[in-house]
């Protein structure tokens, strides 16, 4: 073997050894160690970053649990491969936040077949390939948001009429479909409330800003922007501000995260007119997950549904204290 090939091998080996050993956990102990794996679909979204932070914090309270998060970067194929690899490691509990419904259904079925307890977090899949599914009621959120918008427009014009711009997340996600359908259930009763622009921004603030610029150019008068998450609502606000039209309309989002970058603060600052707290679902997941780990006779419900709260300037300050976790 040539000198160079040898050098290549040595460098590669050193690199791999460093990468692998730097993430190995502490000394082996005699007590039962539990391995909990969490397949997160996209760390880059603030909602999911908050999920990760809370999940890590809650599991850290149990010293006999080794907790690992993988990030699929919004790539279905990557998430499938990551879950397949987790299955090989035989975790005691697998939590999955699926990127999209159809692609992830089969691999989660494989996990269930391999005898691993699976918690499906916040987003649904096409078949019930999980031990339990923890979610919030997105349809109810859609209805609440639409009702808020109807009430606002009625107050503004004396009757329910106006131009609404809708900005949507990833279309393959059930939550997105529900936030849309729930709102339309309500809007359908008011024919003078028109959706003048319907754009898709994949939950990303930067994309929403671009889509909003297009909406602003196409529509000389907009009353409300209903974005299906806070980052997109903020992106829309930034676009409107750049064109000097931010006072022409109000912005409504969903998520209501605490902390200085979350939606609640934006309501306090007057950027968003309202947001809806979208539960992280993490508290419930860790609570149910712990029971699954420690109690072999525990049979969780198939579905746990969590509820949402509306945040407006009236209750924002109070909610901010409640939903901001100390780091």
């Amino acid at each position: 073997m040539s000198k160079r090939a040898l050098k290549f091998l040595i460098v590669t080996q050193l690199g791999l050894l460093t990468a692998c050993h730097s993430s190995k956990s502490g000394p082996a102990n005699e007590a039962r160690q539990y391995f909990v794996a969490f397949s997160q679909c996209n760390n880059a979204e603030p909602y999911r970053a908050a999920q990760n932070a809370l999940m890590t914090k809650l599991w850290a309270q149990h010293t006999d649990v080794k907790f690992v998060i993988s990030d699929a970067g919004q790539d279905d194929n990557k998430q499938i491969a990551q879950i397949e690899t987790f299955i090989r490691e035989k975790p005691d509990l697998l939590i999955v936040a699926p990127n999209e419904r159809a692609p992830l259904t089969e691999v989660m079925g494989k996990a269930v077949q391999a005898g691993i307890p699976v918690i499906c977090l916040e987003r649904d899949i096409l078949e019930p390939n999980y031990t339990t599914y923890i979610a919030a009621d997105n349809r109810a959120i859609g209805r609440m948001a639409a009702q808020f918008i109807v009430d606002y427009l009625t107050k503004k014009y004396g009757r329910p009429q106006g131009n609404v711009v809708q900005i949507r997340g990833l279309l393959g996600v059930e939550g997105e479909i529900d936030r849309n359908d729930g709102a339309h259930e309500v809007f359908a009763r008011y024919p003078d409330i028109k959706i003048v622009h319907d754009a898709v921004a994949d939950w990303i603030q930067a994309k929403a800003k671009d889509r909003m610029v297009e909406a602003l150019r196409a529509n000389p008068h907009i009353d409300v922007v209903y974005a299906h998450n806070d980052p997109m609502a903020i992106g829309a606000y930034l676009a409107a501000r750049e064109l000097g039209r931010e006072h022409e309309m109000i912005f409504v989002g969903v998520d209501g995260l605490g902390g200085p970058n979350g939606g609640i603060k934006k309501v306090m600052d007057g950027v968003l007119a309202a947001t809806f707290v979208y539960p992280l679902c993490v508290d419930k997941a860790v609570e149910v997950g712990n029971q699954i780990l420690r109690d072999p006779n525990f049979k969780p419900d198939k579905i746990y549904t969590l509820h949402s709260t509306m945040i407006t300037p009236q209750n924002a300050a109070e909610a901010y204290k409640q939903f901001t976790f100390a780091e």
Binding site: M1, S2, R4, A5, K7, F8, L9, V11, T12, Q13, G15, L16, L17, A19, C20, S22, S23, K24, V68, S70, D71, A72, G73, D76, N77, K78, I80, A81, Q82, E84, T85, R88, E89, K90, E100, R101, A102, P103, T105, E106, L126, E127, L171, G172, V200
Partner: protein, 361 residues
Amino acid sequence: MKFFNARMNASQHNTEPPPLATTGPNPAPSSCPKGTAAAARPIWRRLQALPALAGIILVAILLSPHASDGSNIFLETGNLTDILRQVSVIGIIAVAMTFVILTAGIDLSVGSILALSTTVVAMALTRWSPPVGDAGHIALAIGAALAAGAAVGALNGVVVSGANIQPFVVTLATMIGVRGLAKRLTDNANIDIGFGRDVAAVFADFINQKAVIIGSLLVMAAVFWLILDRTVFGRYVRAVGDNERAARYTGLPIARVKIWVYTLSGLLSALAGVIYAAENHQGNPNAGIAYELDAIAAVVIGGTSLMGGKGSVSGTLVGTLILGILTNILRLNNVDSNVEMMVKAVIILVAVAVMAGRKAE
């Protein structure tokens, strides 16, 4: 230039270039340099990346975590076949990319063609009802997707060989345009190839089996290896990349070679797209972003030179495996996926440096 002398000796009075994809007789390699007469080059010369693959496998076995019964997780059959399945989509694209890079070209549009293919096959399966049985419907849907990919590839080839524009620029334009086309076809939505009993489900269930997916990769690799090593067309591909001007003076059908090479790249990207659609149960116009980079990485690690003329399909397979095993062992050890990318980057650079060093020897 010795290669062309050898060819002239073999067919002295034949001024017309031989037809493309036939298996021509190998010229007597009396004075052929190492890189060209396949029969003369021993196998360990051609598989330059093989020691690296062996090294990575060794390290993977050493670093693999162990299951509760003590067995080595990396070596589990299930895990090894997982790796093969996970690299198949990129692997198929990389096999055809080898040909493109051998002509000193590049194809950046493979990811977009994959996306177009997934949408075409999903649309054909869910929104079209031809008067044929399930098998016929599936065949037509796959055929449509492959035809779309080949058409884009042919377009790439025609523009590269006809207009005087570099392949990088041409395929960059196609990459953007075809992505737009795929998104327009479905209005940027995904098309679910659902579960159930309809023809789309039959398609997904059949194709989404490890044997079919891995088999496709191996069959494509075998076919393309045969073409490259055992046909006149394969020789032409190397010749065009090695020294295009000399090839032109010798009268090789350069335009036809290039058109074929890019068409094949489009065709295989479409095949990868069909598999992707079945694996993910979805036609997705946003699929395959940055796949061209993974494919090029696999080709380069396998020893193919971006300057053209030098490389092999077997090398590409080895390169694909190296990347797949690397990713697997990092994931089995729960290394952060961002660190994963950084490690990949180092491996690519080191591999290319080693190959460059080899060439100078």
